[in-house]
Subunit: 297 residues, 2 copies
């Protein structure tokens, strides 16, 4: 079986490593240099005390793909470009999307592929260099079929117990819950420059997060508010020492996923003529930090 | 003429230094140690390249005051304590209040003194140590009579041209404008850890500040919105390199004046049943930073 992974970031490398245990994996990178290093040195995963190196193929994403299954593991803001300009080259029987947010759904519907799945990654992963990823937290990947048949993805049942997949029926609820987690934890930790646990350790921070929660829950018509609010707080506690991906992006002067998550919420609010004062305010503050380019400390 | 200055912070020391040029000044400090140092070493002001040392009296604020005029130069949160428990010791013909915010007005009305003035300090001042203050920006002190006669404060006309006083008729507008400046610049710079100028240099920051401006202006029924919005932006540009007092408080792990300025706005909103989502959110974030105690960097 041939599996293609589009994206050489933390999630792409982690997925590639575990998939390579039972399939022929090709990683499609943005940069030539990373592809060359991966072909030459292999792909190393560090999980606890264990360090394993896997042989993988890698090539820049300029040529056509020709795999049985494609994992789309790029950030949402890169995905738009790939789906609109390179879609004809994405030959595969099945595609799995691993993005945060929900903004990519509108593009997915235009794809010609027979089987399409949506997934959310609940692992902790930190890219150390072009060929090394640290598996900082073993979680799971929830997935759901968006188009086609579930059996087209049956190979997901055979992955390592350290990289399990869990099927859920309702892709919209799955994505909405992940979106809520991302909306609440990422911008606040990035703005405040604190690890996830601080958001529930200090009462004023929790109160601010709760204010944001109620605003966003109204905009997205979230049912079971209390359950999801508890879920978000649990994740803060379970990942207390983690620095969120958005915080790391800000600290490194990289572009963040703020548009995929918070701008998406503001757009939904505008469509419905619902006010979104806190989301809009927070969005501007994080955008400003992004502009400072990591030099704001 | 005997002038008492209650408070040995940046504003208290600056006021004491310039007043000591034409009057007998006593500084009332919180700590014994500072009073002793001021008596022994004098009070030094650095303004540009000039450095001048002034002889002053100083004593801890435990004894009674016996001055012709008292300047109240403590933070608003210390003022409440002084006015409610030590008011009988504040013997003076006239009192001038130099606080930010408007929360102290309710206490002022209970004072027995014949002449009471309210003032807002528009100087830049940075306390270096217990006996040294840097005059980082020469501005002015606006003042207005709250009770009694203007002539009771005629000595203000004789102060140094580096420390001018300007009379205004309407104390409420004067305090409201200063409150708007403080509400908009202080919490945002403290949260974002940026100098004042950054709030207008980056469009997203200016947009966030403008959102906050409109919310607060509605709560406080600010007239002439456009003029005041321009005024706030002008101050950001004029003090572009300054780090606000609240930012310095957060960085040093000190208590901030967030309650005197933003909690006051939220109280006014609650009284009128006007929503204050952004003010409330921002208040919680700064309170959390205060709790982190300067260790959040």
């Amino acid at each position: 079986m041939r599996i293609g992974i589009v994206g050489g970031g933390a999630v792409g490398l982690l997925t590639a490593a575990y998939m390579s245990q039972s399939a022929h994996v090709t990683i499609y990178t943005r940069r030539h240099e990373q592809a060359e290093k991966l072909c030459a040195n292999g792909l190393t995963v560090i999980c606890g005390d264990e360090k394993t190196t896997h042989r993988v193929q890698a090539t820049p994403f300029v040529c056509e793909t020709n795999d049985d299954v494609l994992f789309m593991a790029v950030k949402q803001y890169d995905l738009t470009n790939i789906l609109t300009t390179h879609v004809h080259m994405l030959q595969a029987n099945a595609i799995i999307f691993l993005q945060n947010g929900m903004g990519h759904i509108r593009y997915v519907s235009r794809l010609p592929h027979e089987h399409i799945a949506l997934a959310v990654v609940e692992h902790g992963a930190l890219k150390v260099d072009d060929t090394t990823v640290v598996h900082t937290g073993v979680g799971q990947t929830k997935w759901s079929v968006w188009r086609g048949e579930q059996h087209a993805f049956s190979f997901l049942l055979r992955t390592s117990s350290r990289f399990p997949f869990q099927y859920v029926d309702d892709w919209e609820t799955m994505l909405l819950e992940k979106l809520m987690v991302n909306v609440l934890i990422n911008p606040l930790t990035a703005l405040l420059r604190v690890p996830n646990g601080m958001l529930v350790a200090h009462d004023p921070y929790r109160q601010a997060m709760e204010q944001l929660f109620h605003e966003v829950a109204s905009i997205l018509h979230i049912e079971q508010r209390e359950r999801i609010w508890q879920h978000v707080q649990t994740i803060c506690r379970q990942t207390a020492a983690n620095r969120s991906s958005m915080l790391r992006d800000i600290e490194s002067g990289r572009r963040t996923e703020i548009d995929a998550i918070l701008a998406y919420v503001i757009e939904r609010a505008n469509e419905q003529h619902i006010p979104a004062p806190i989301s809009t305010f927070l969005y501007s503050l994080v955008k400003g930090k992004e502009l400072e380019g990591g030099k704001g400390r």
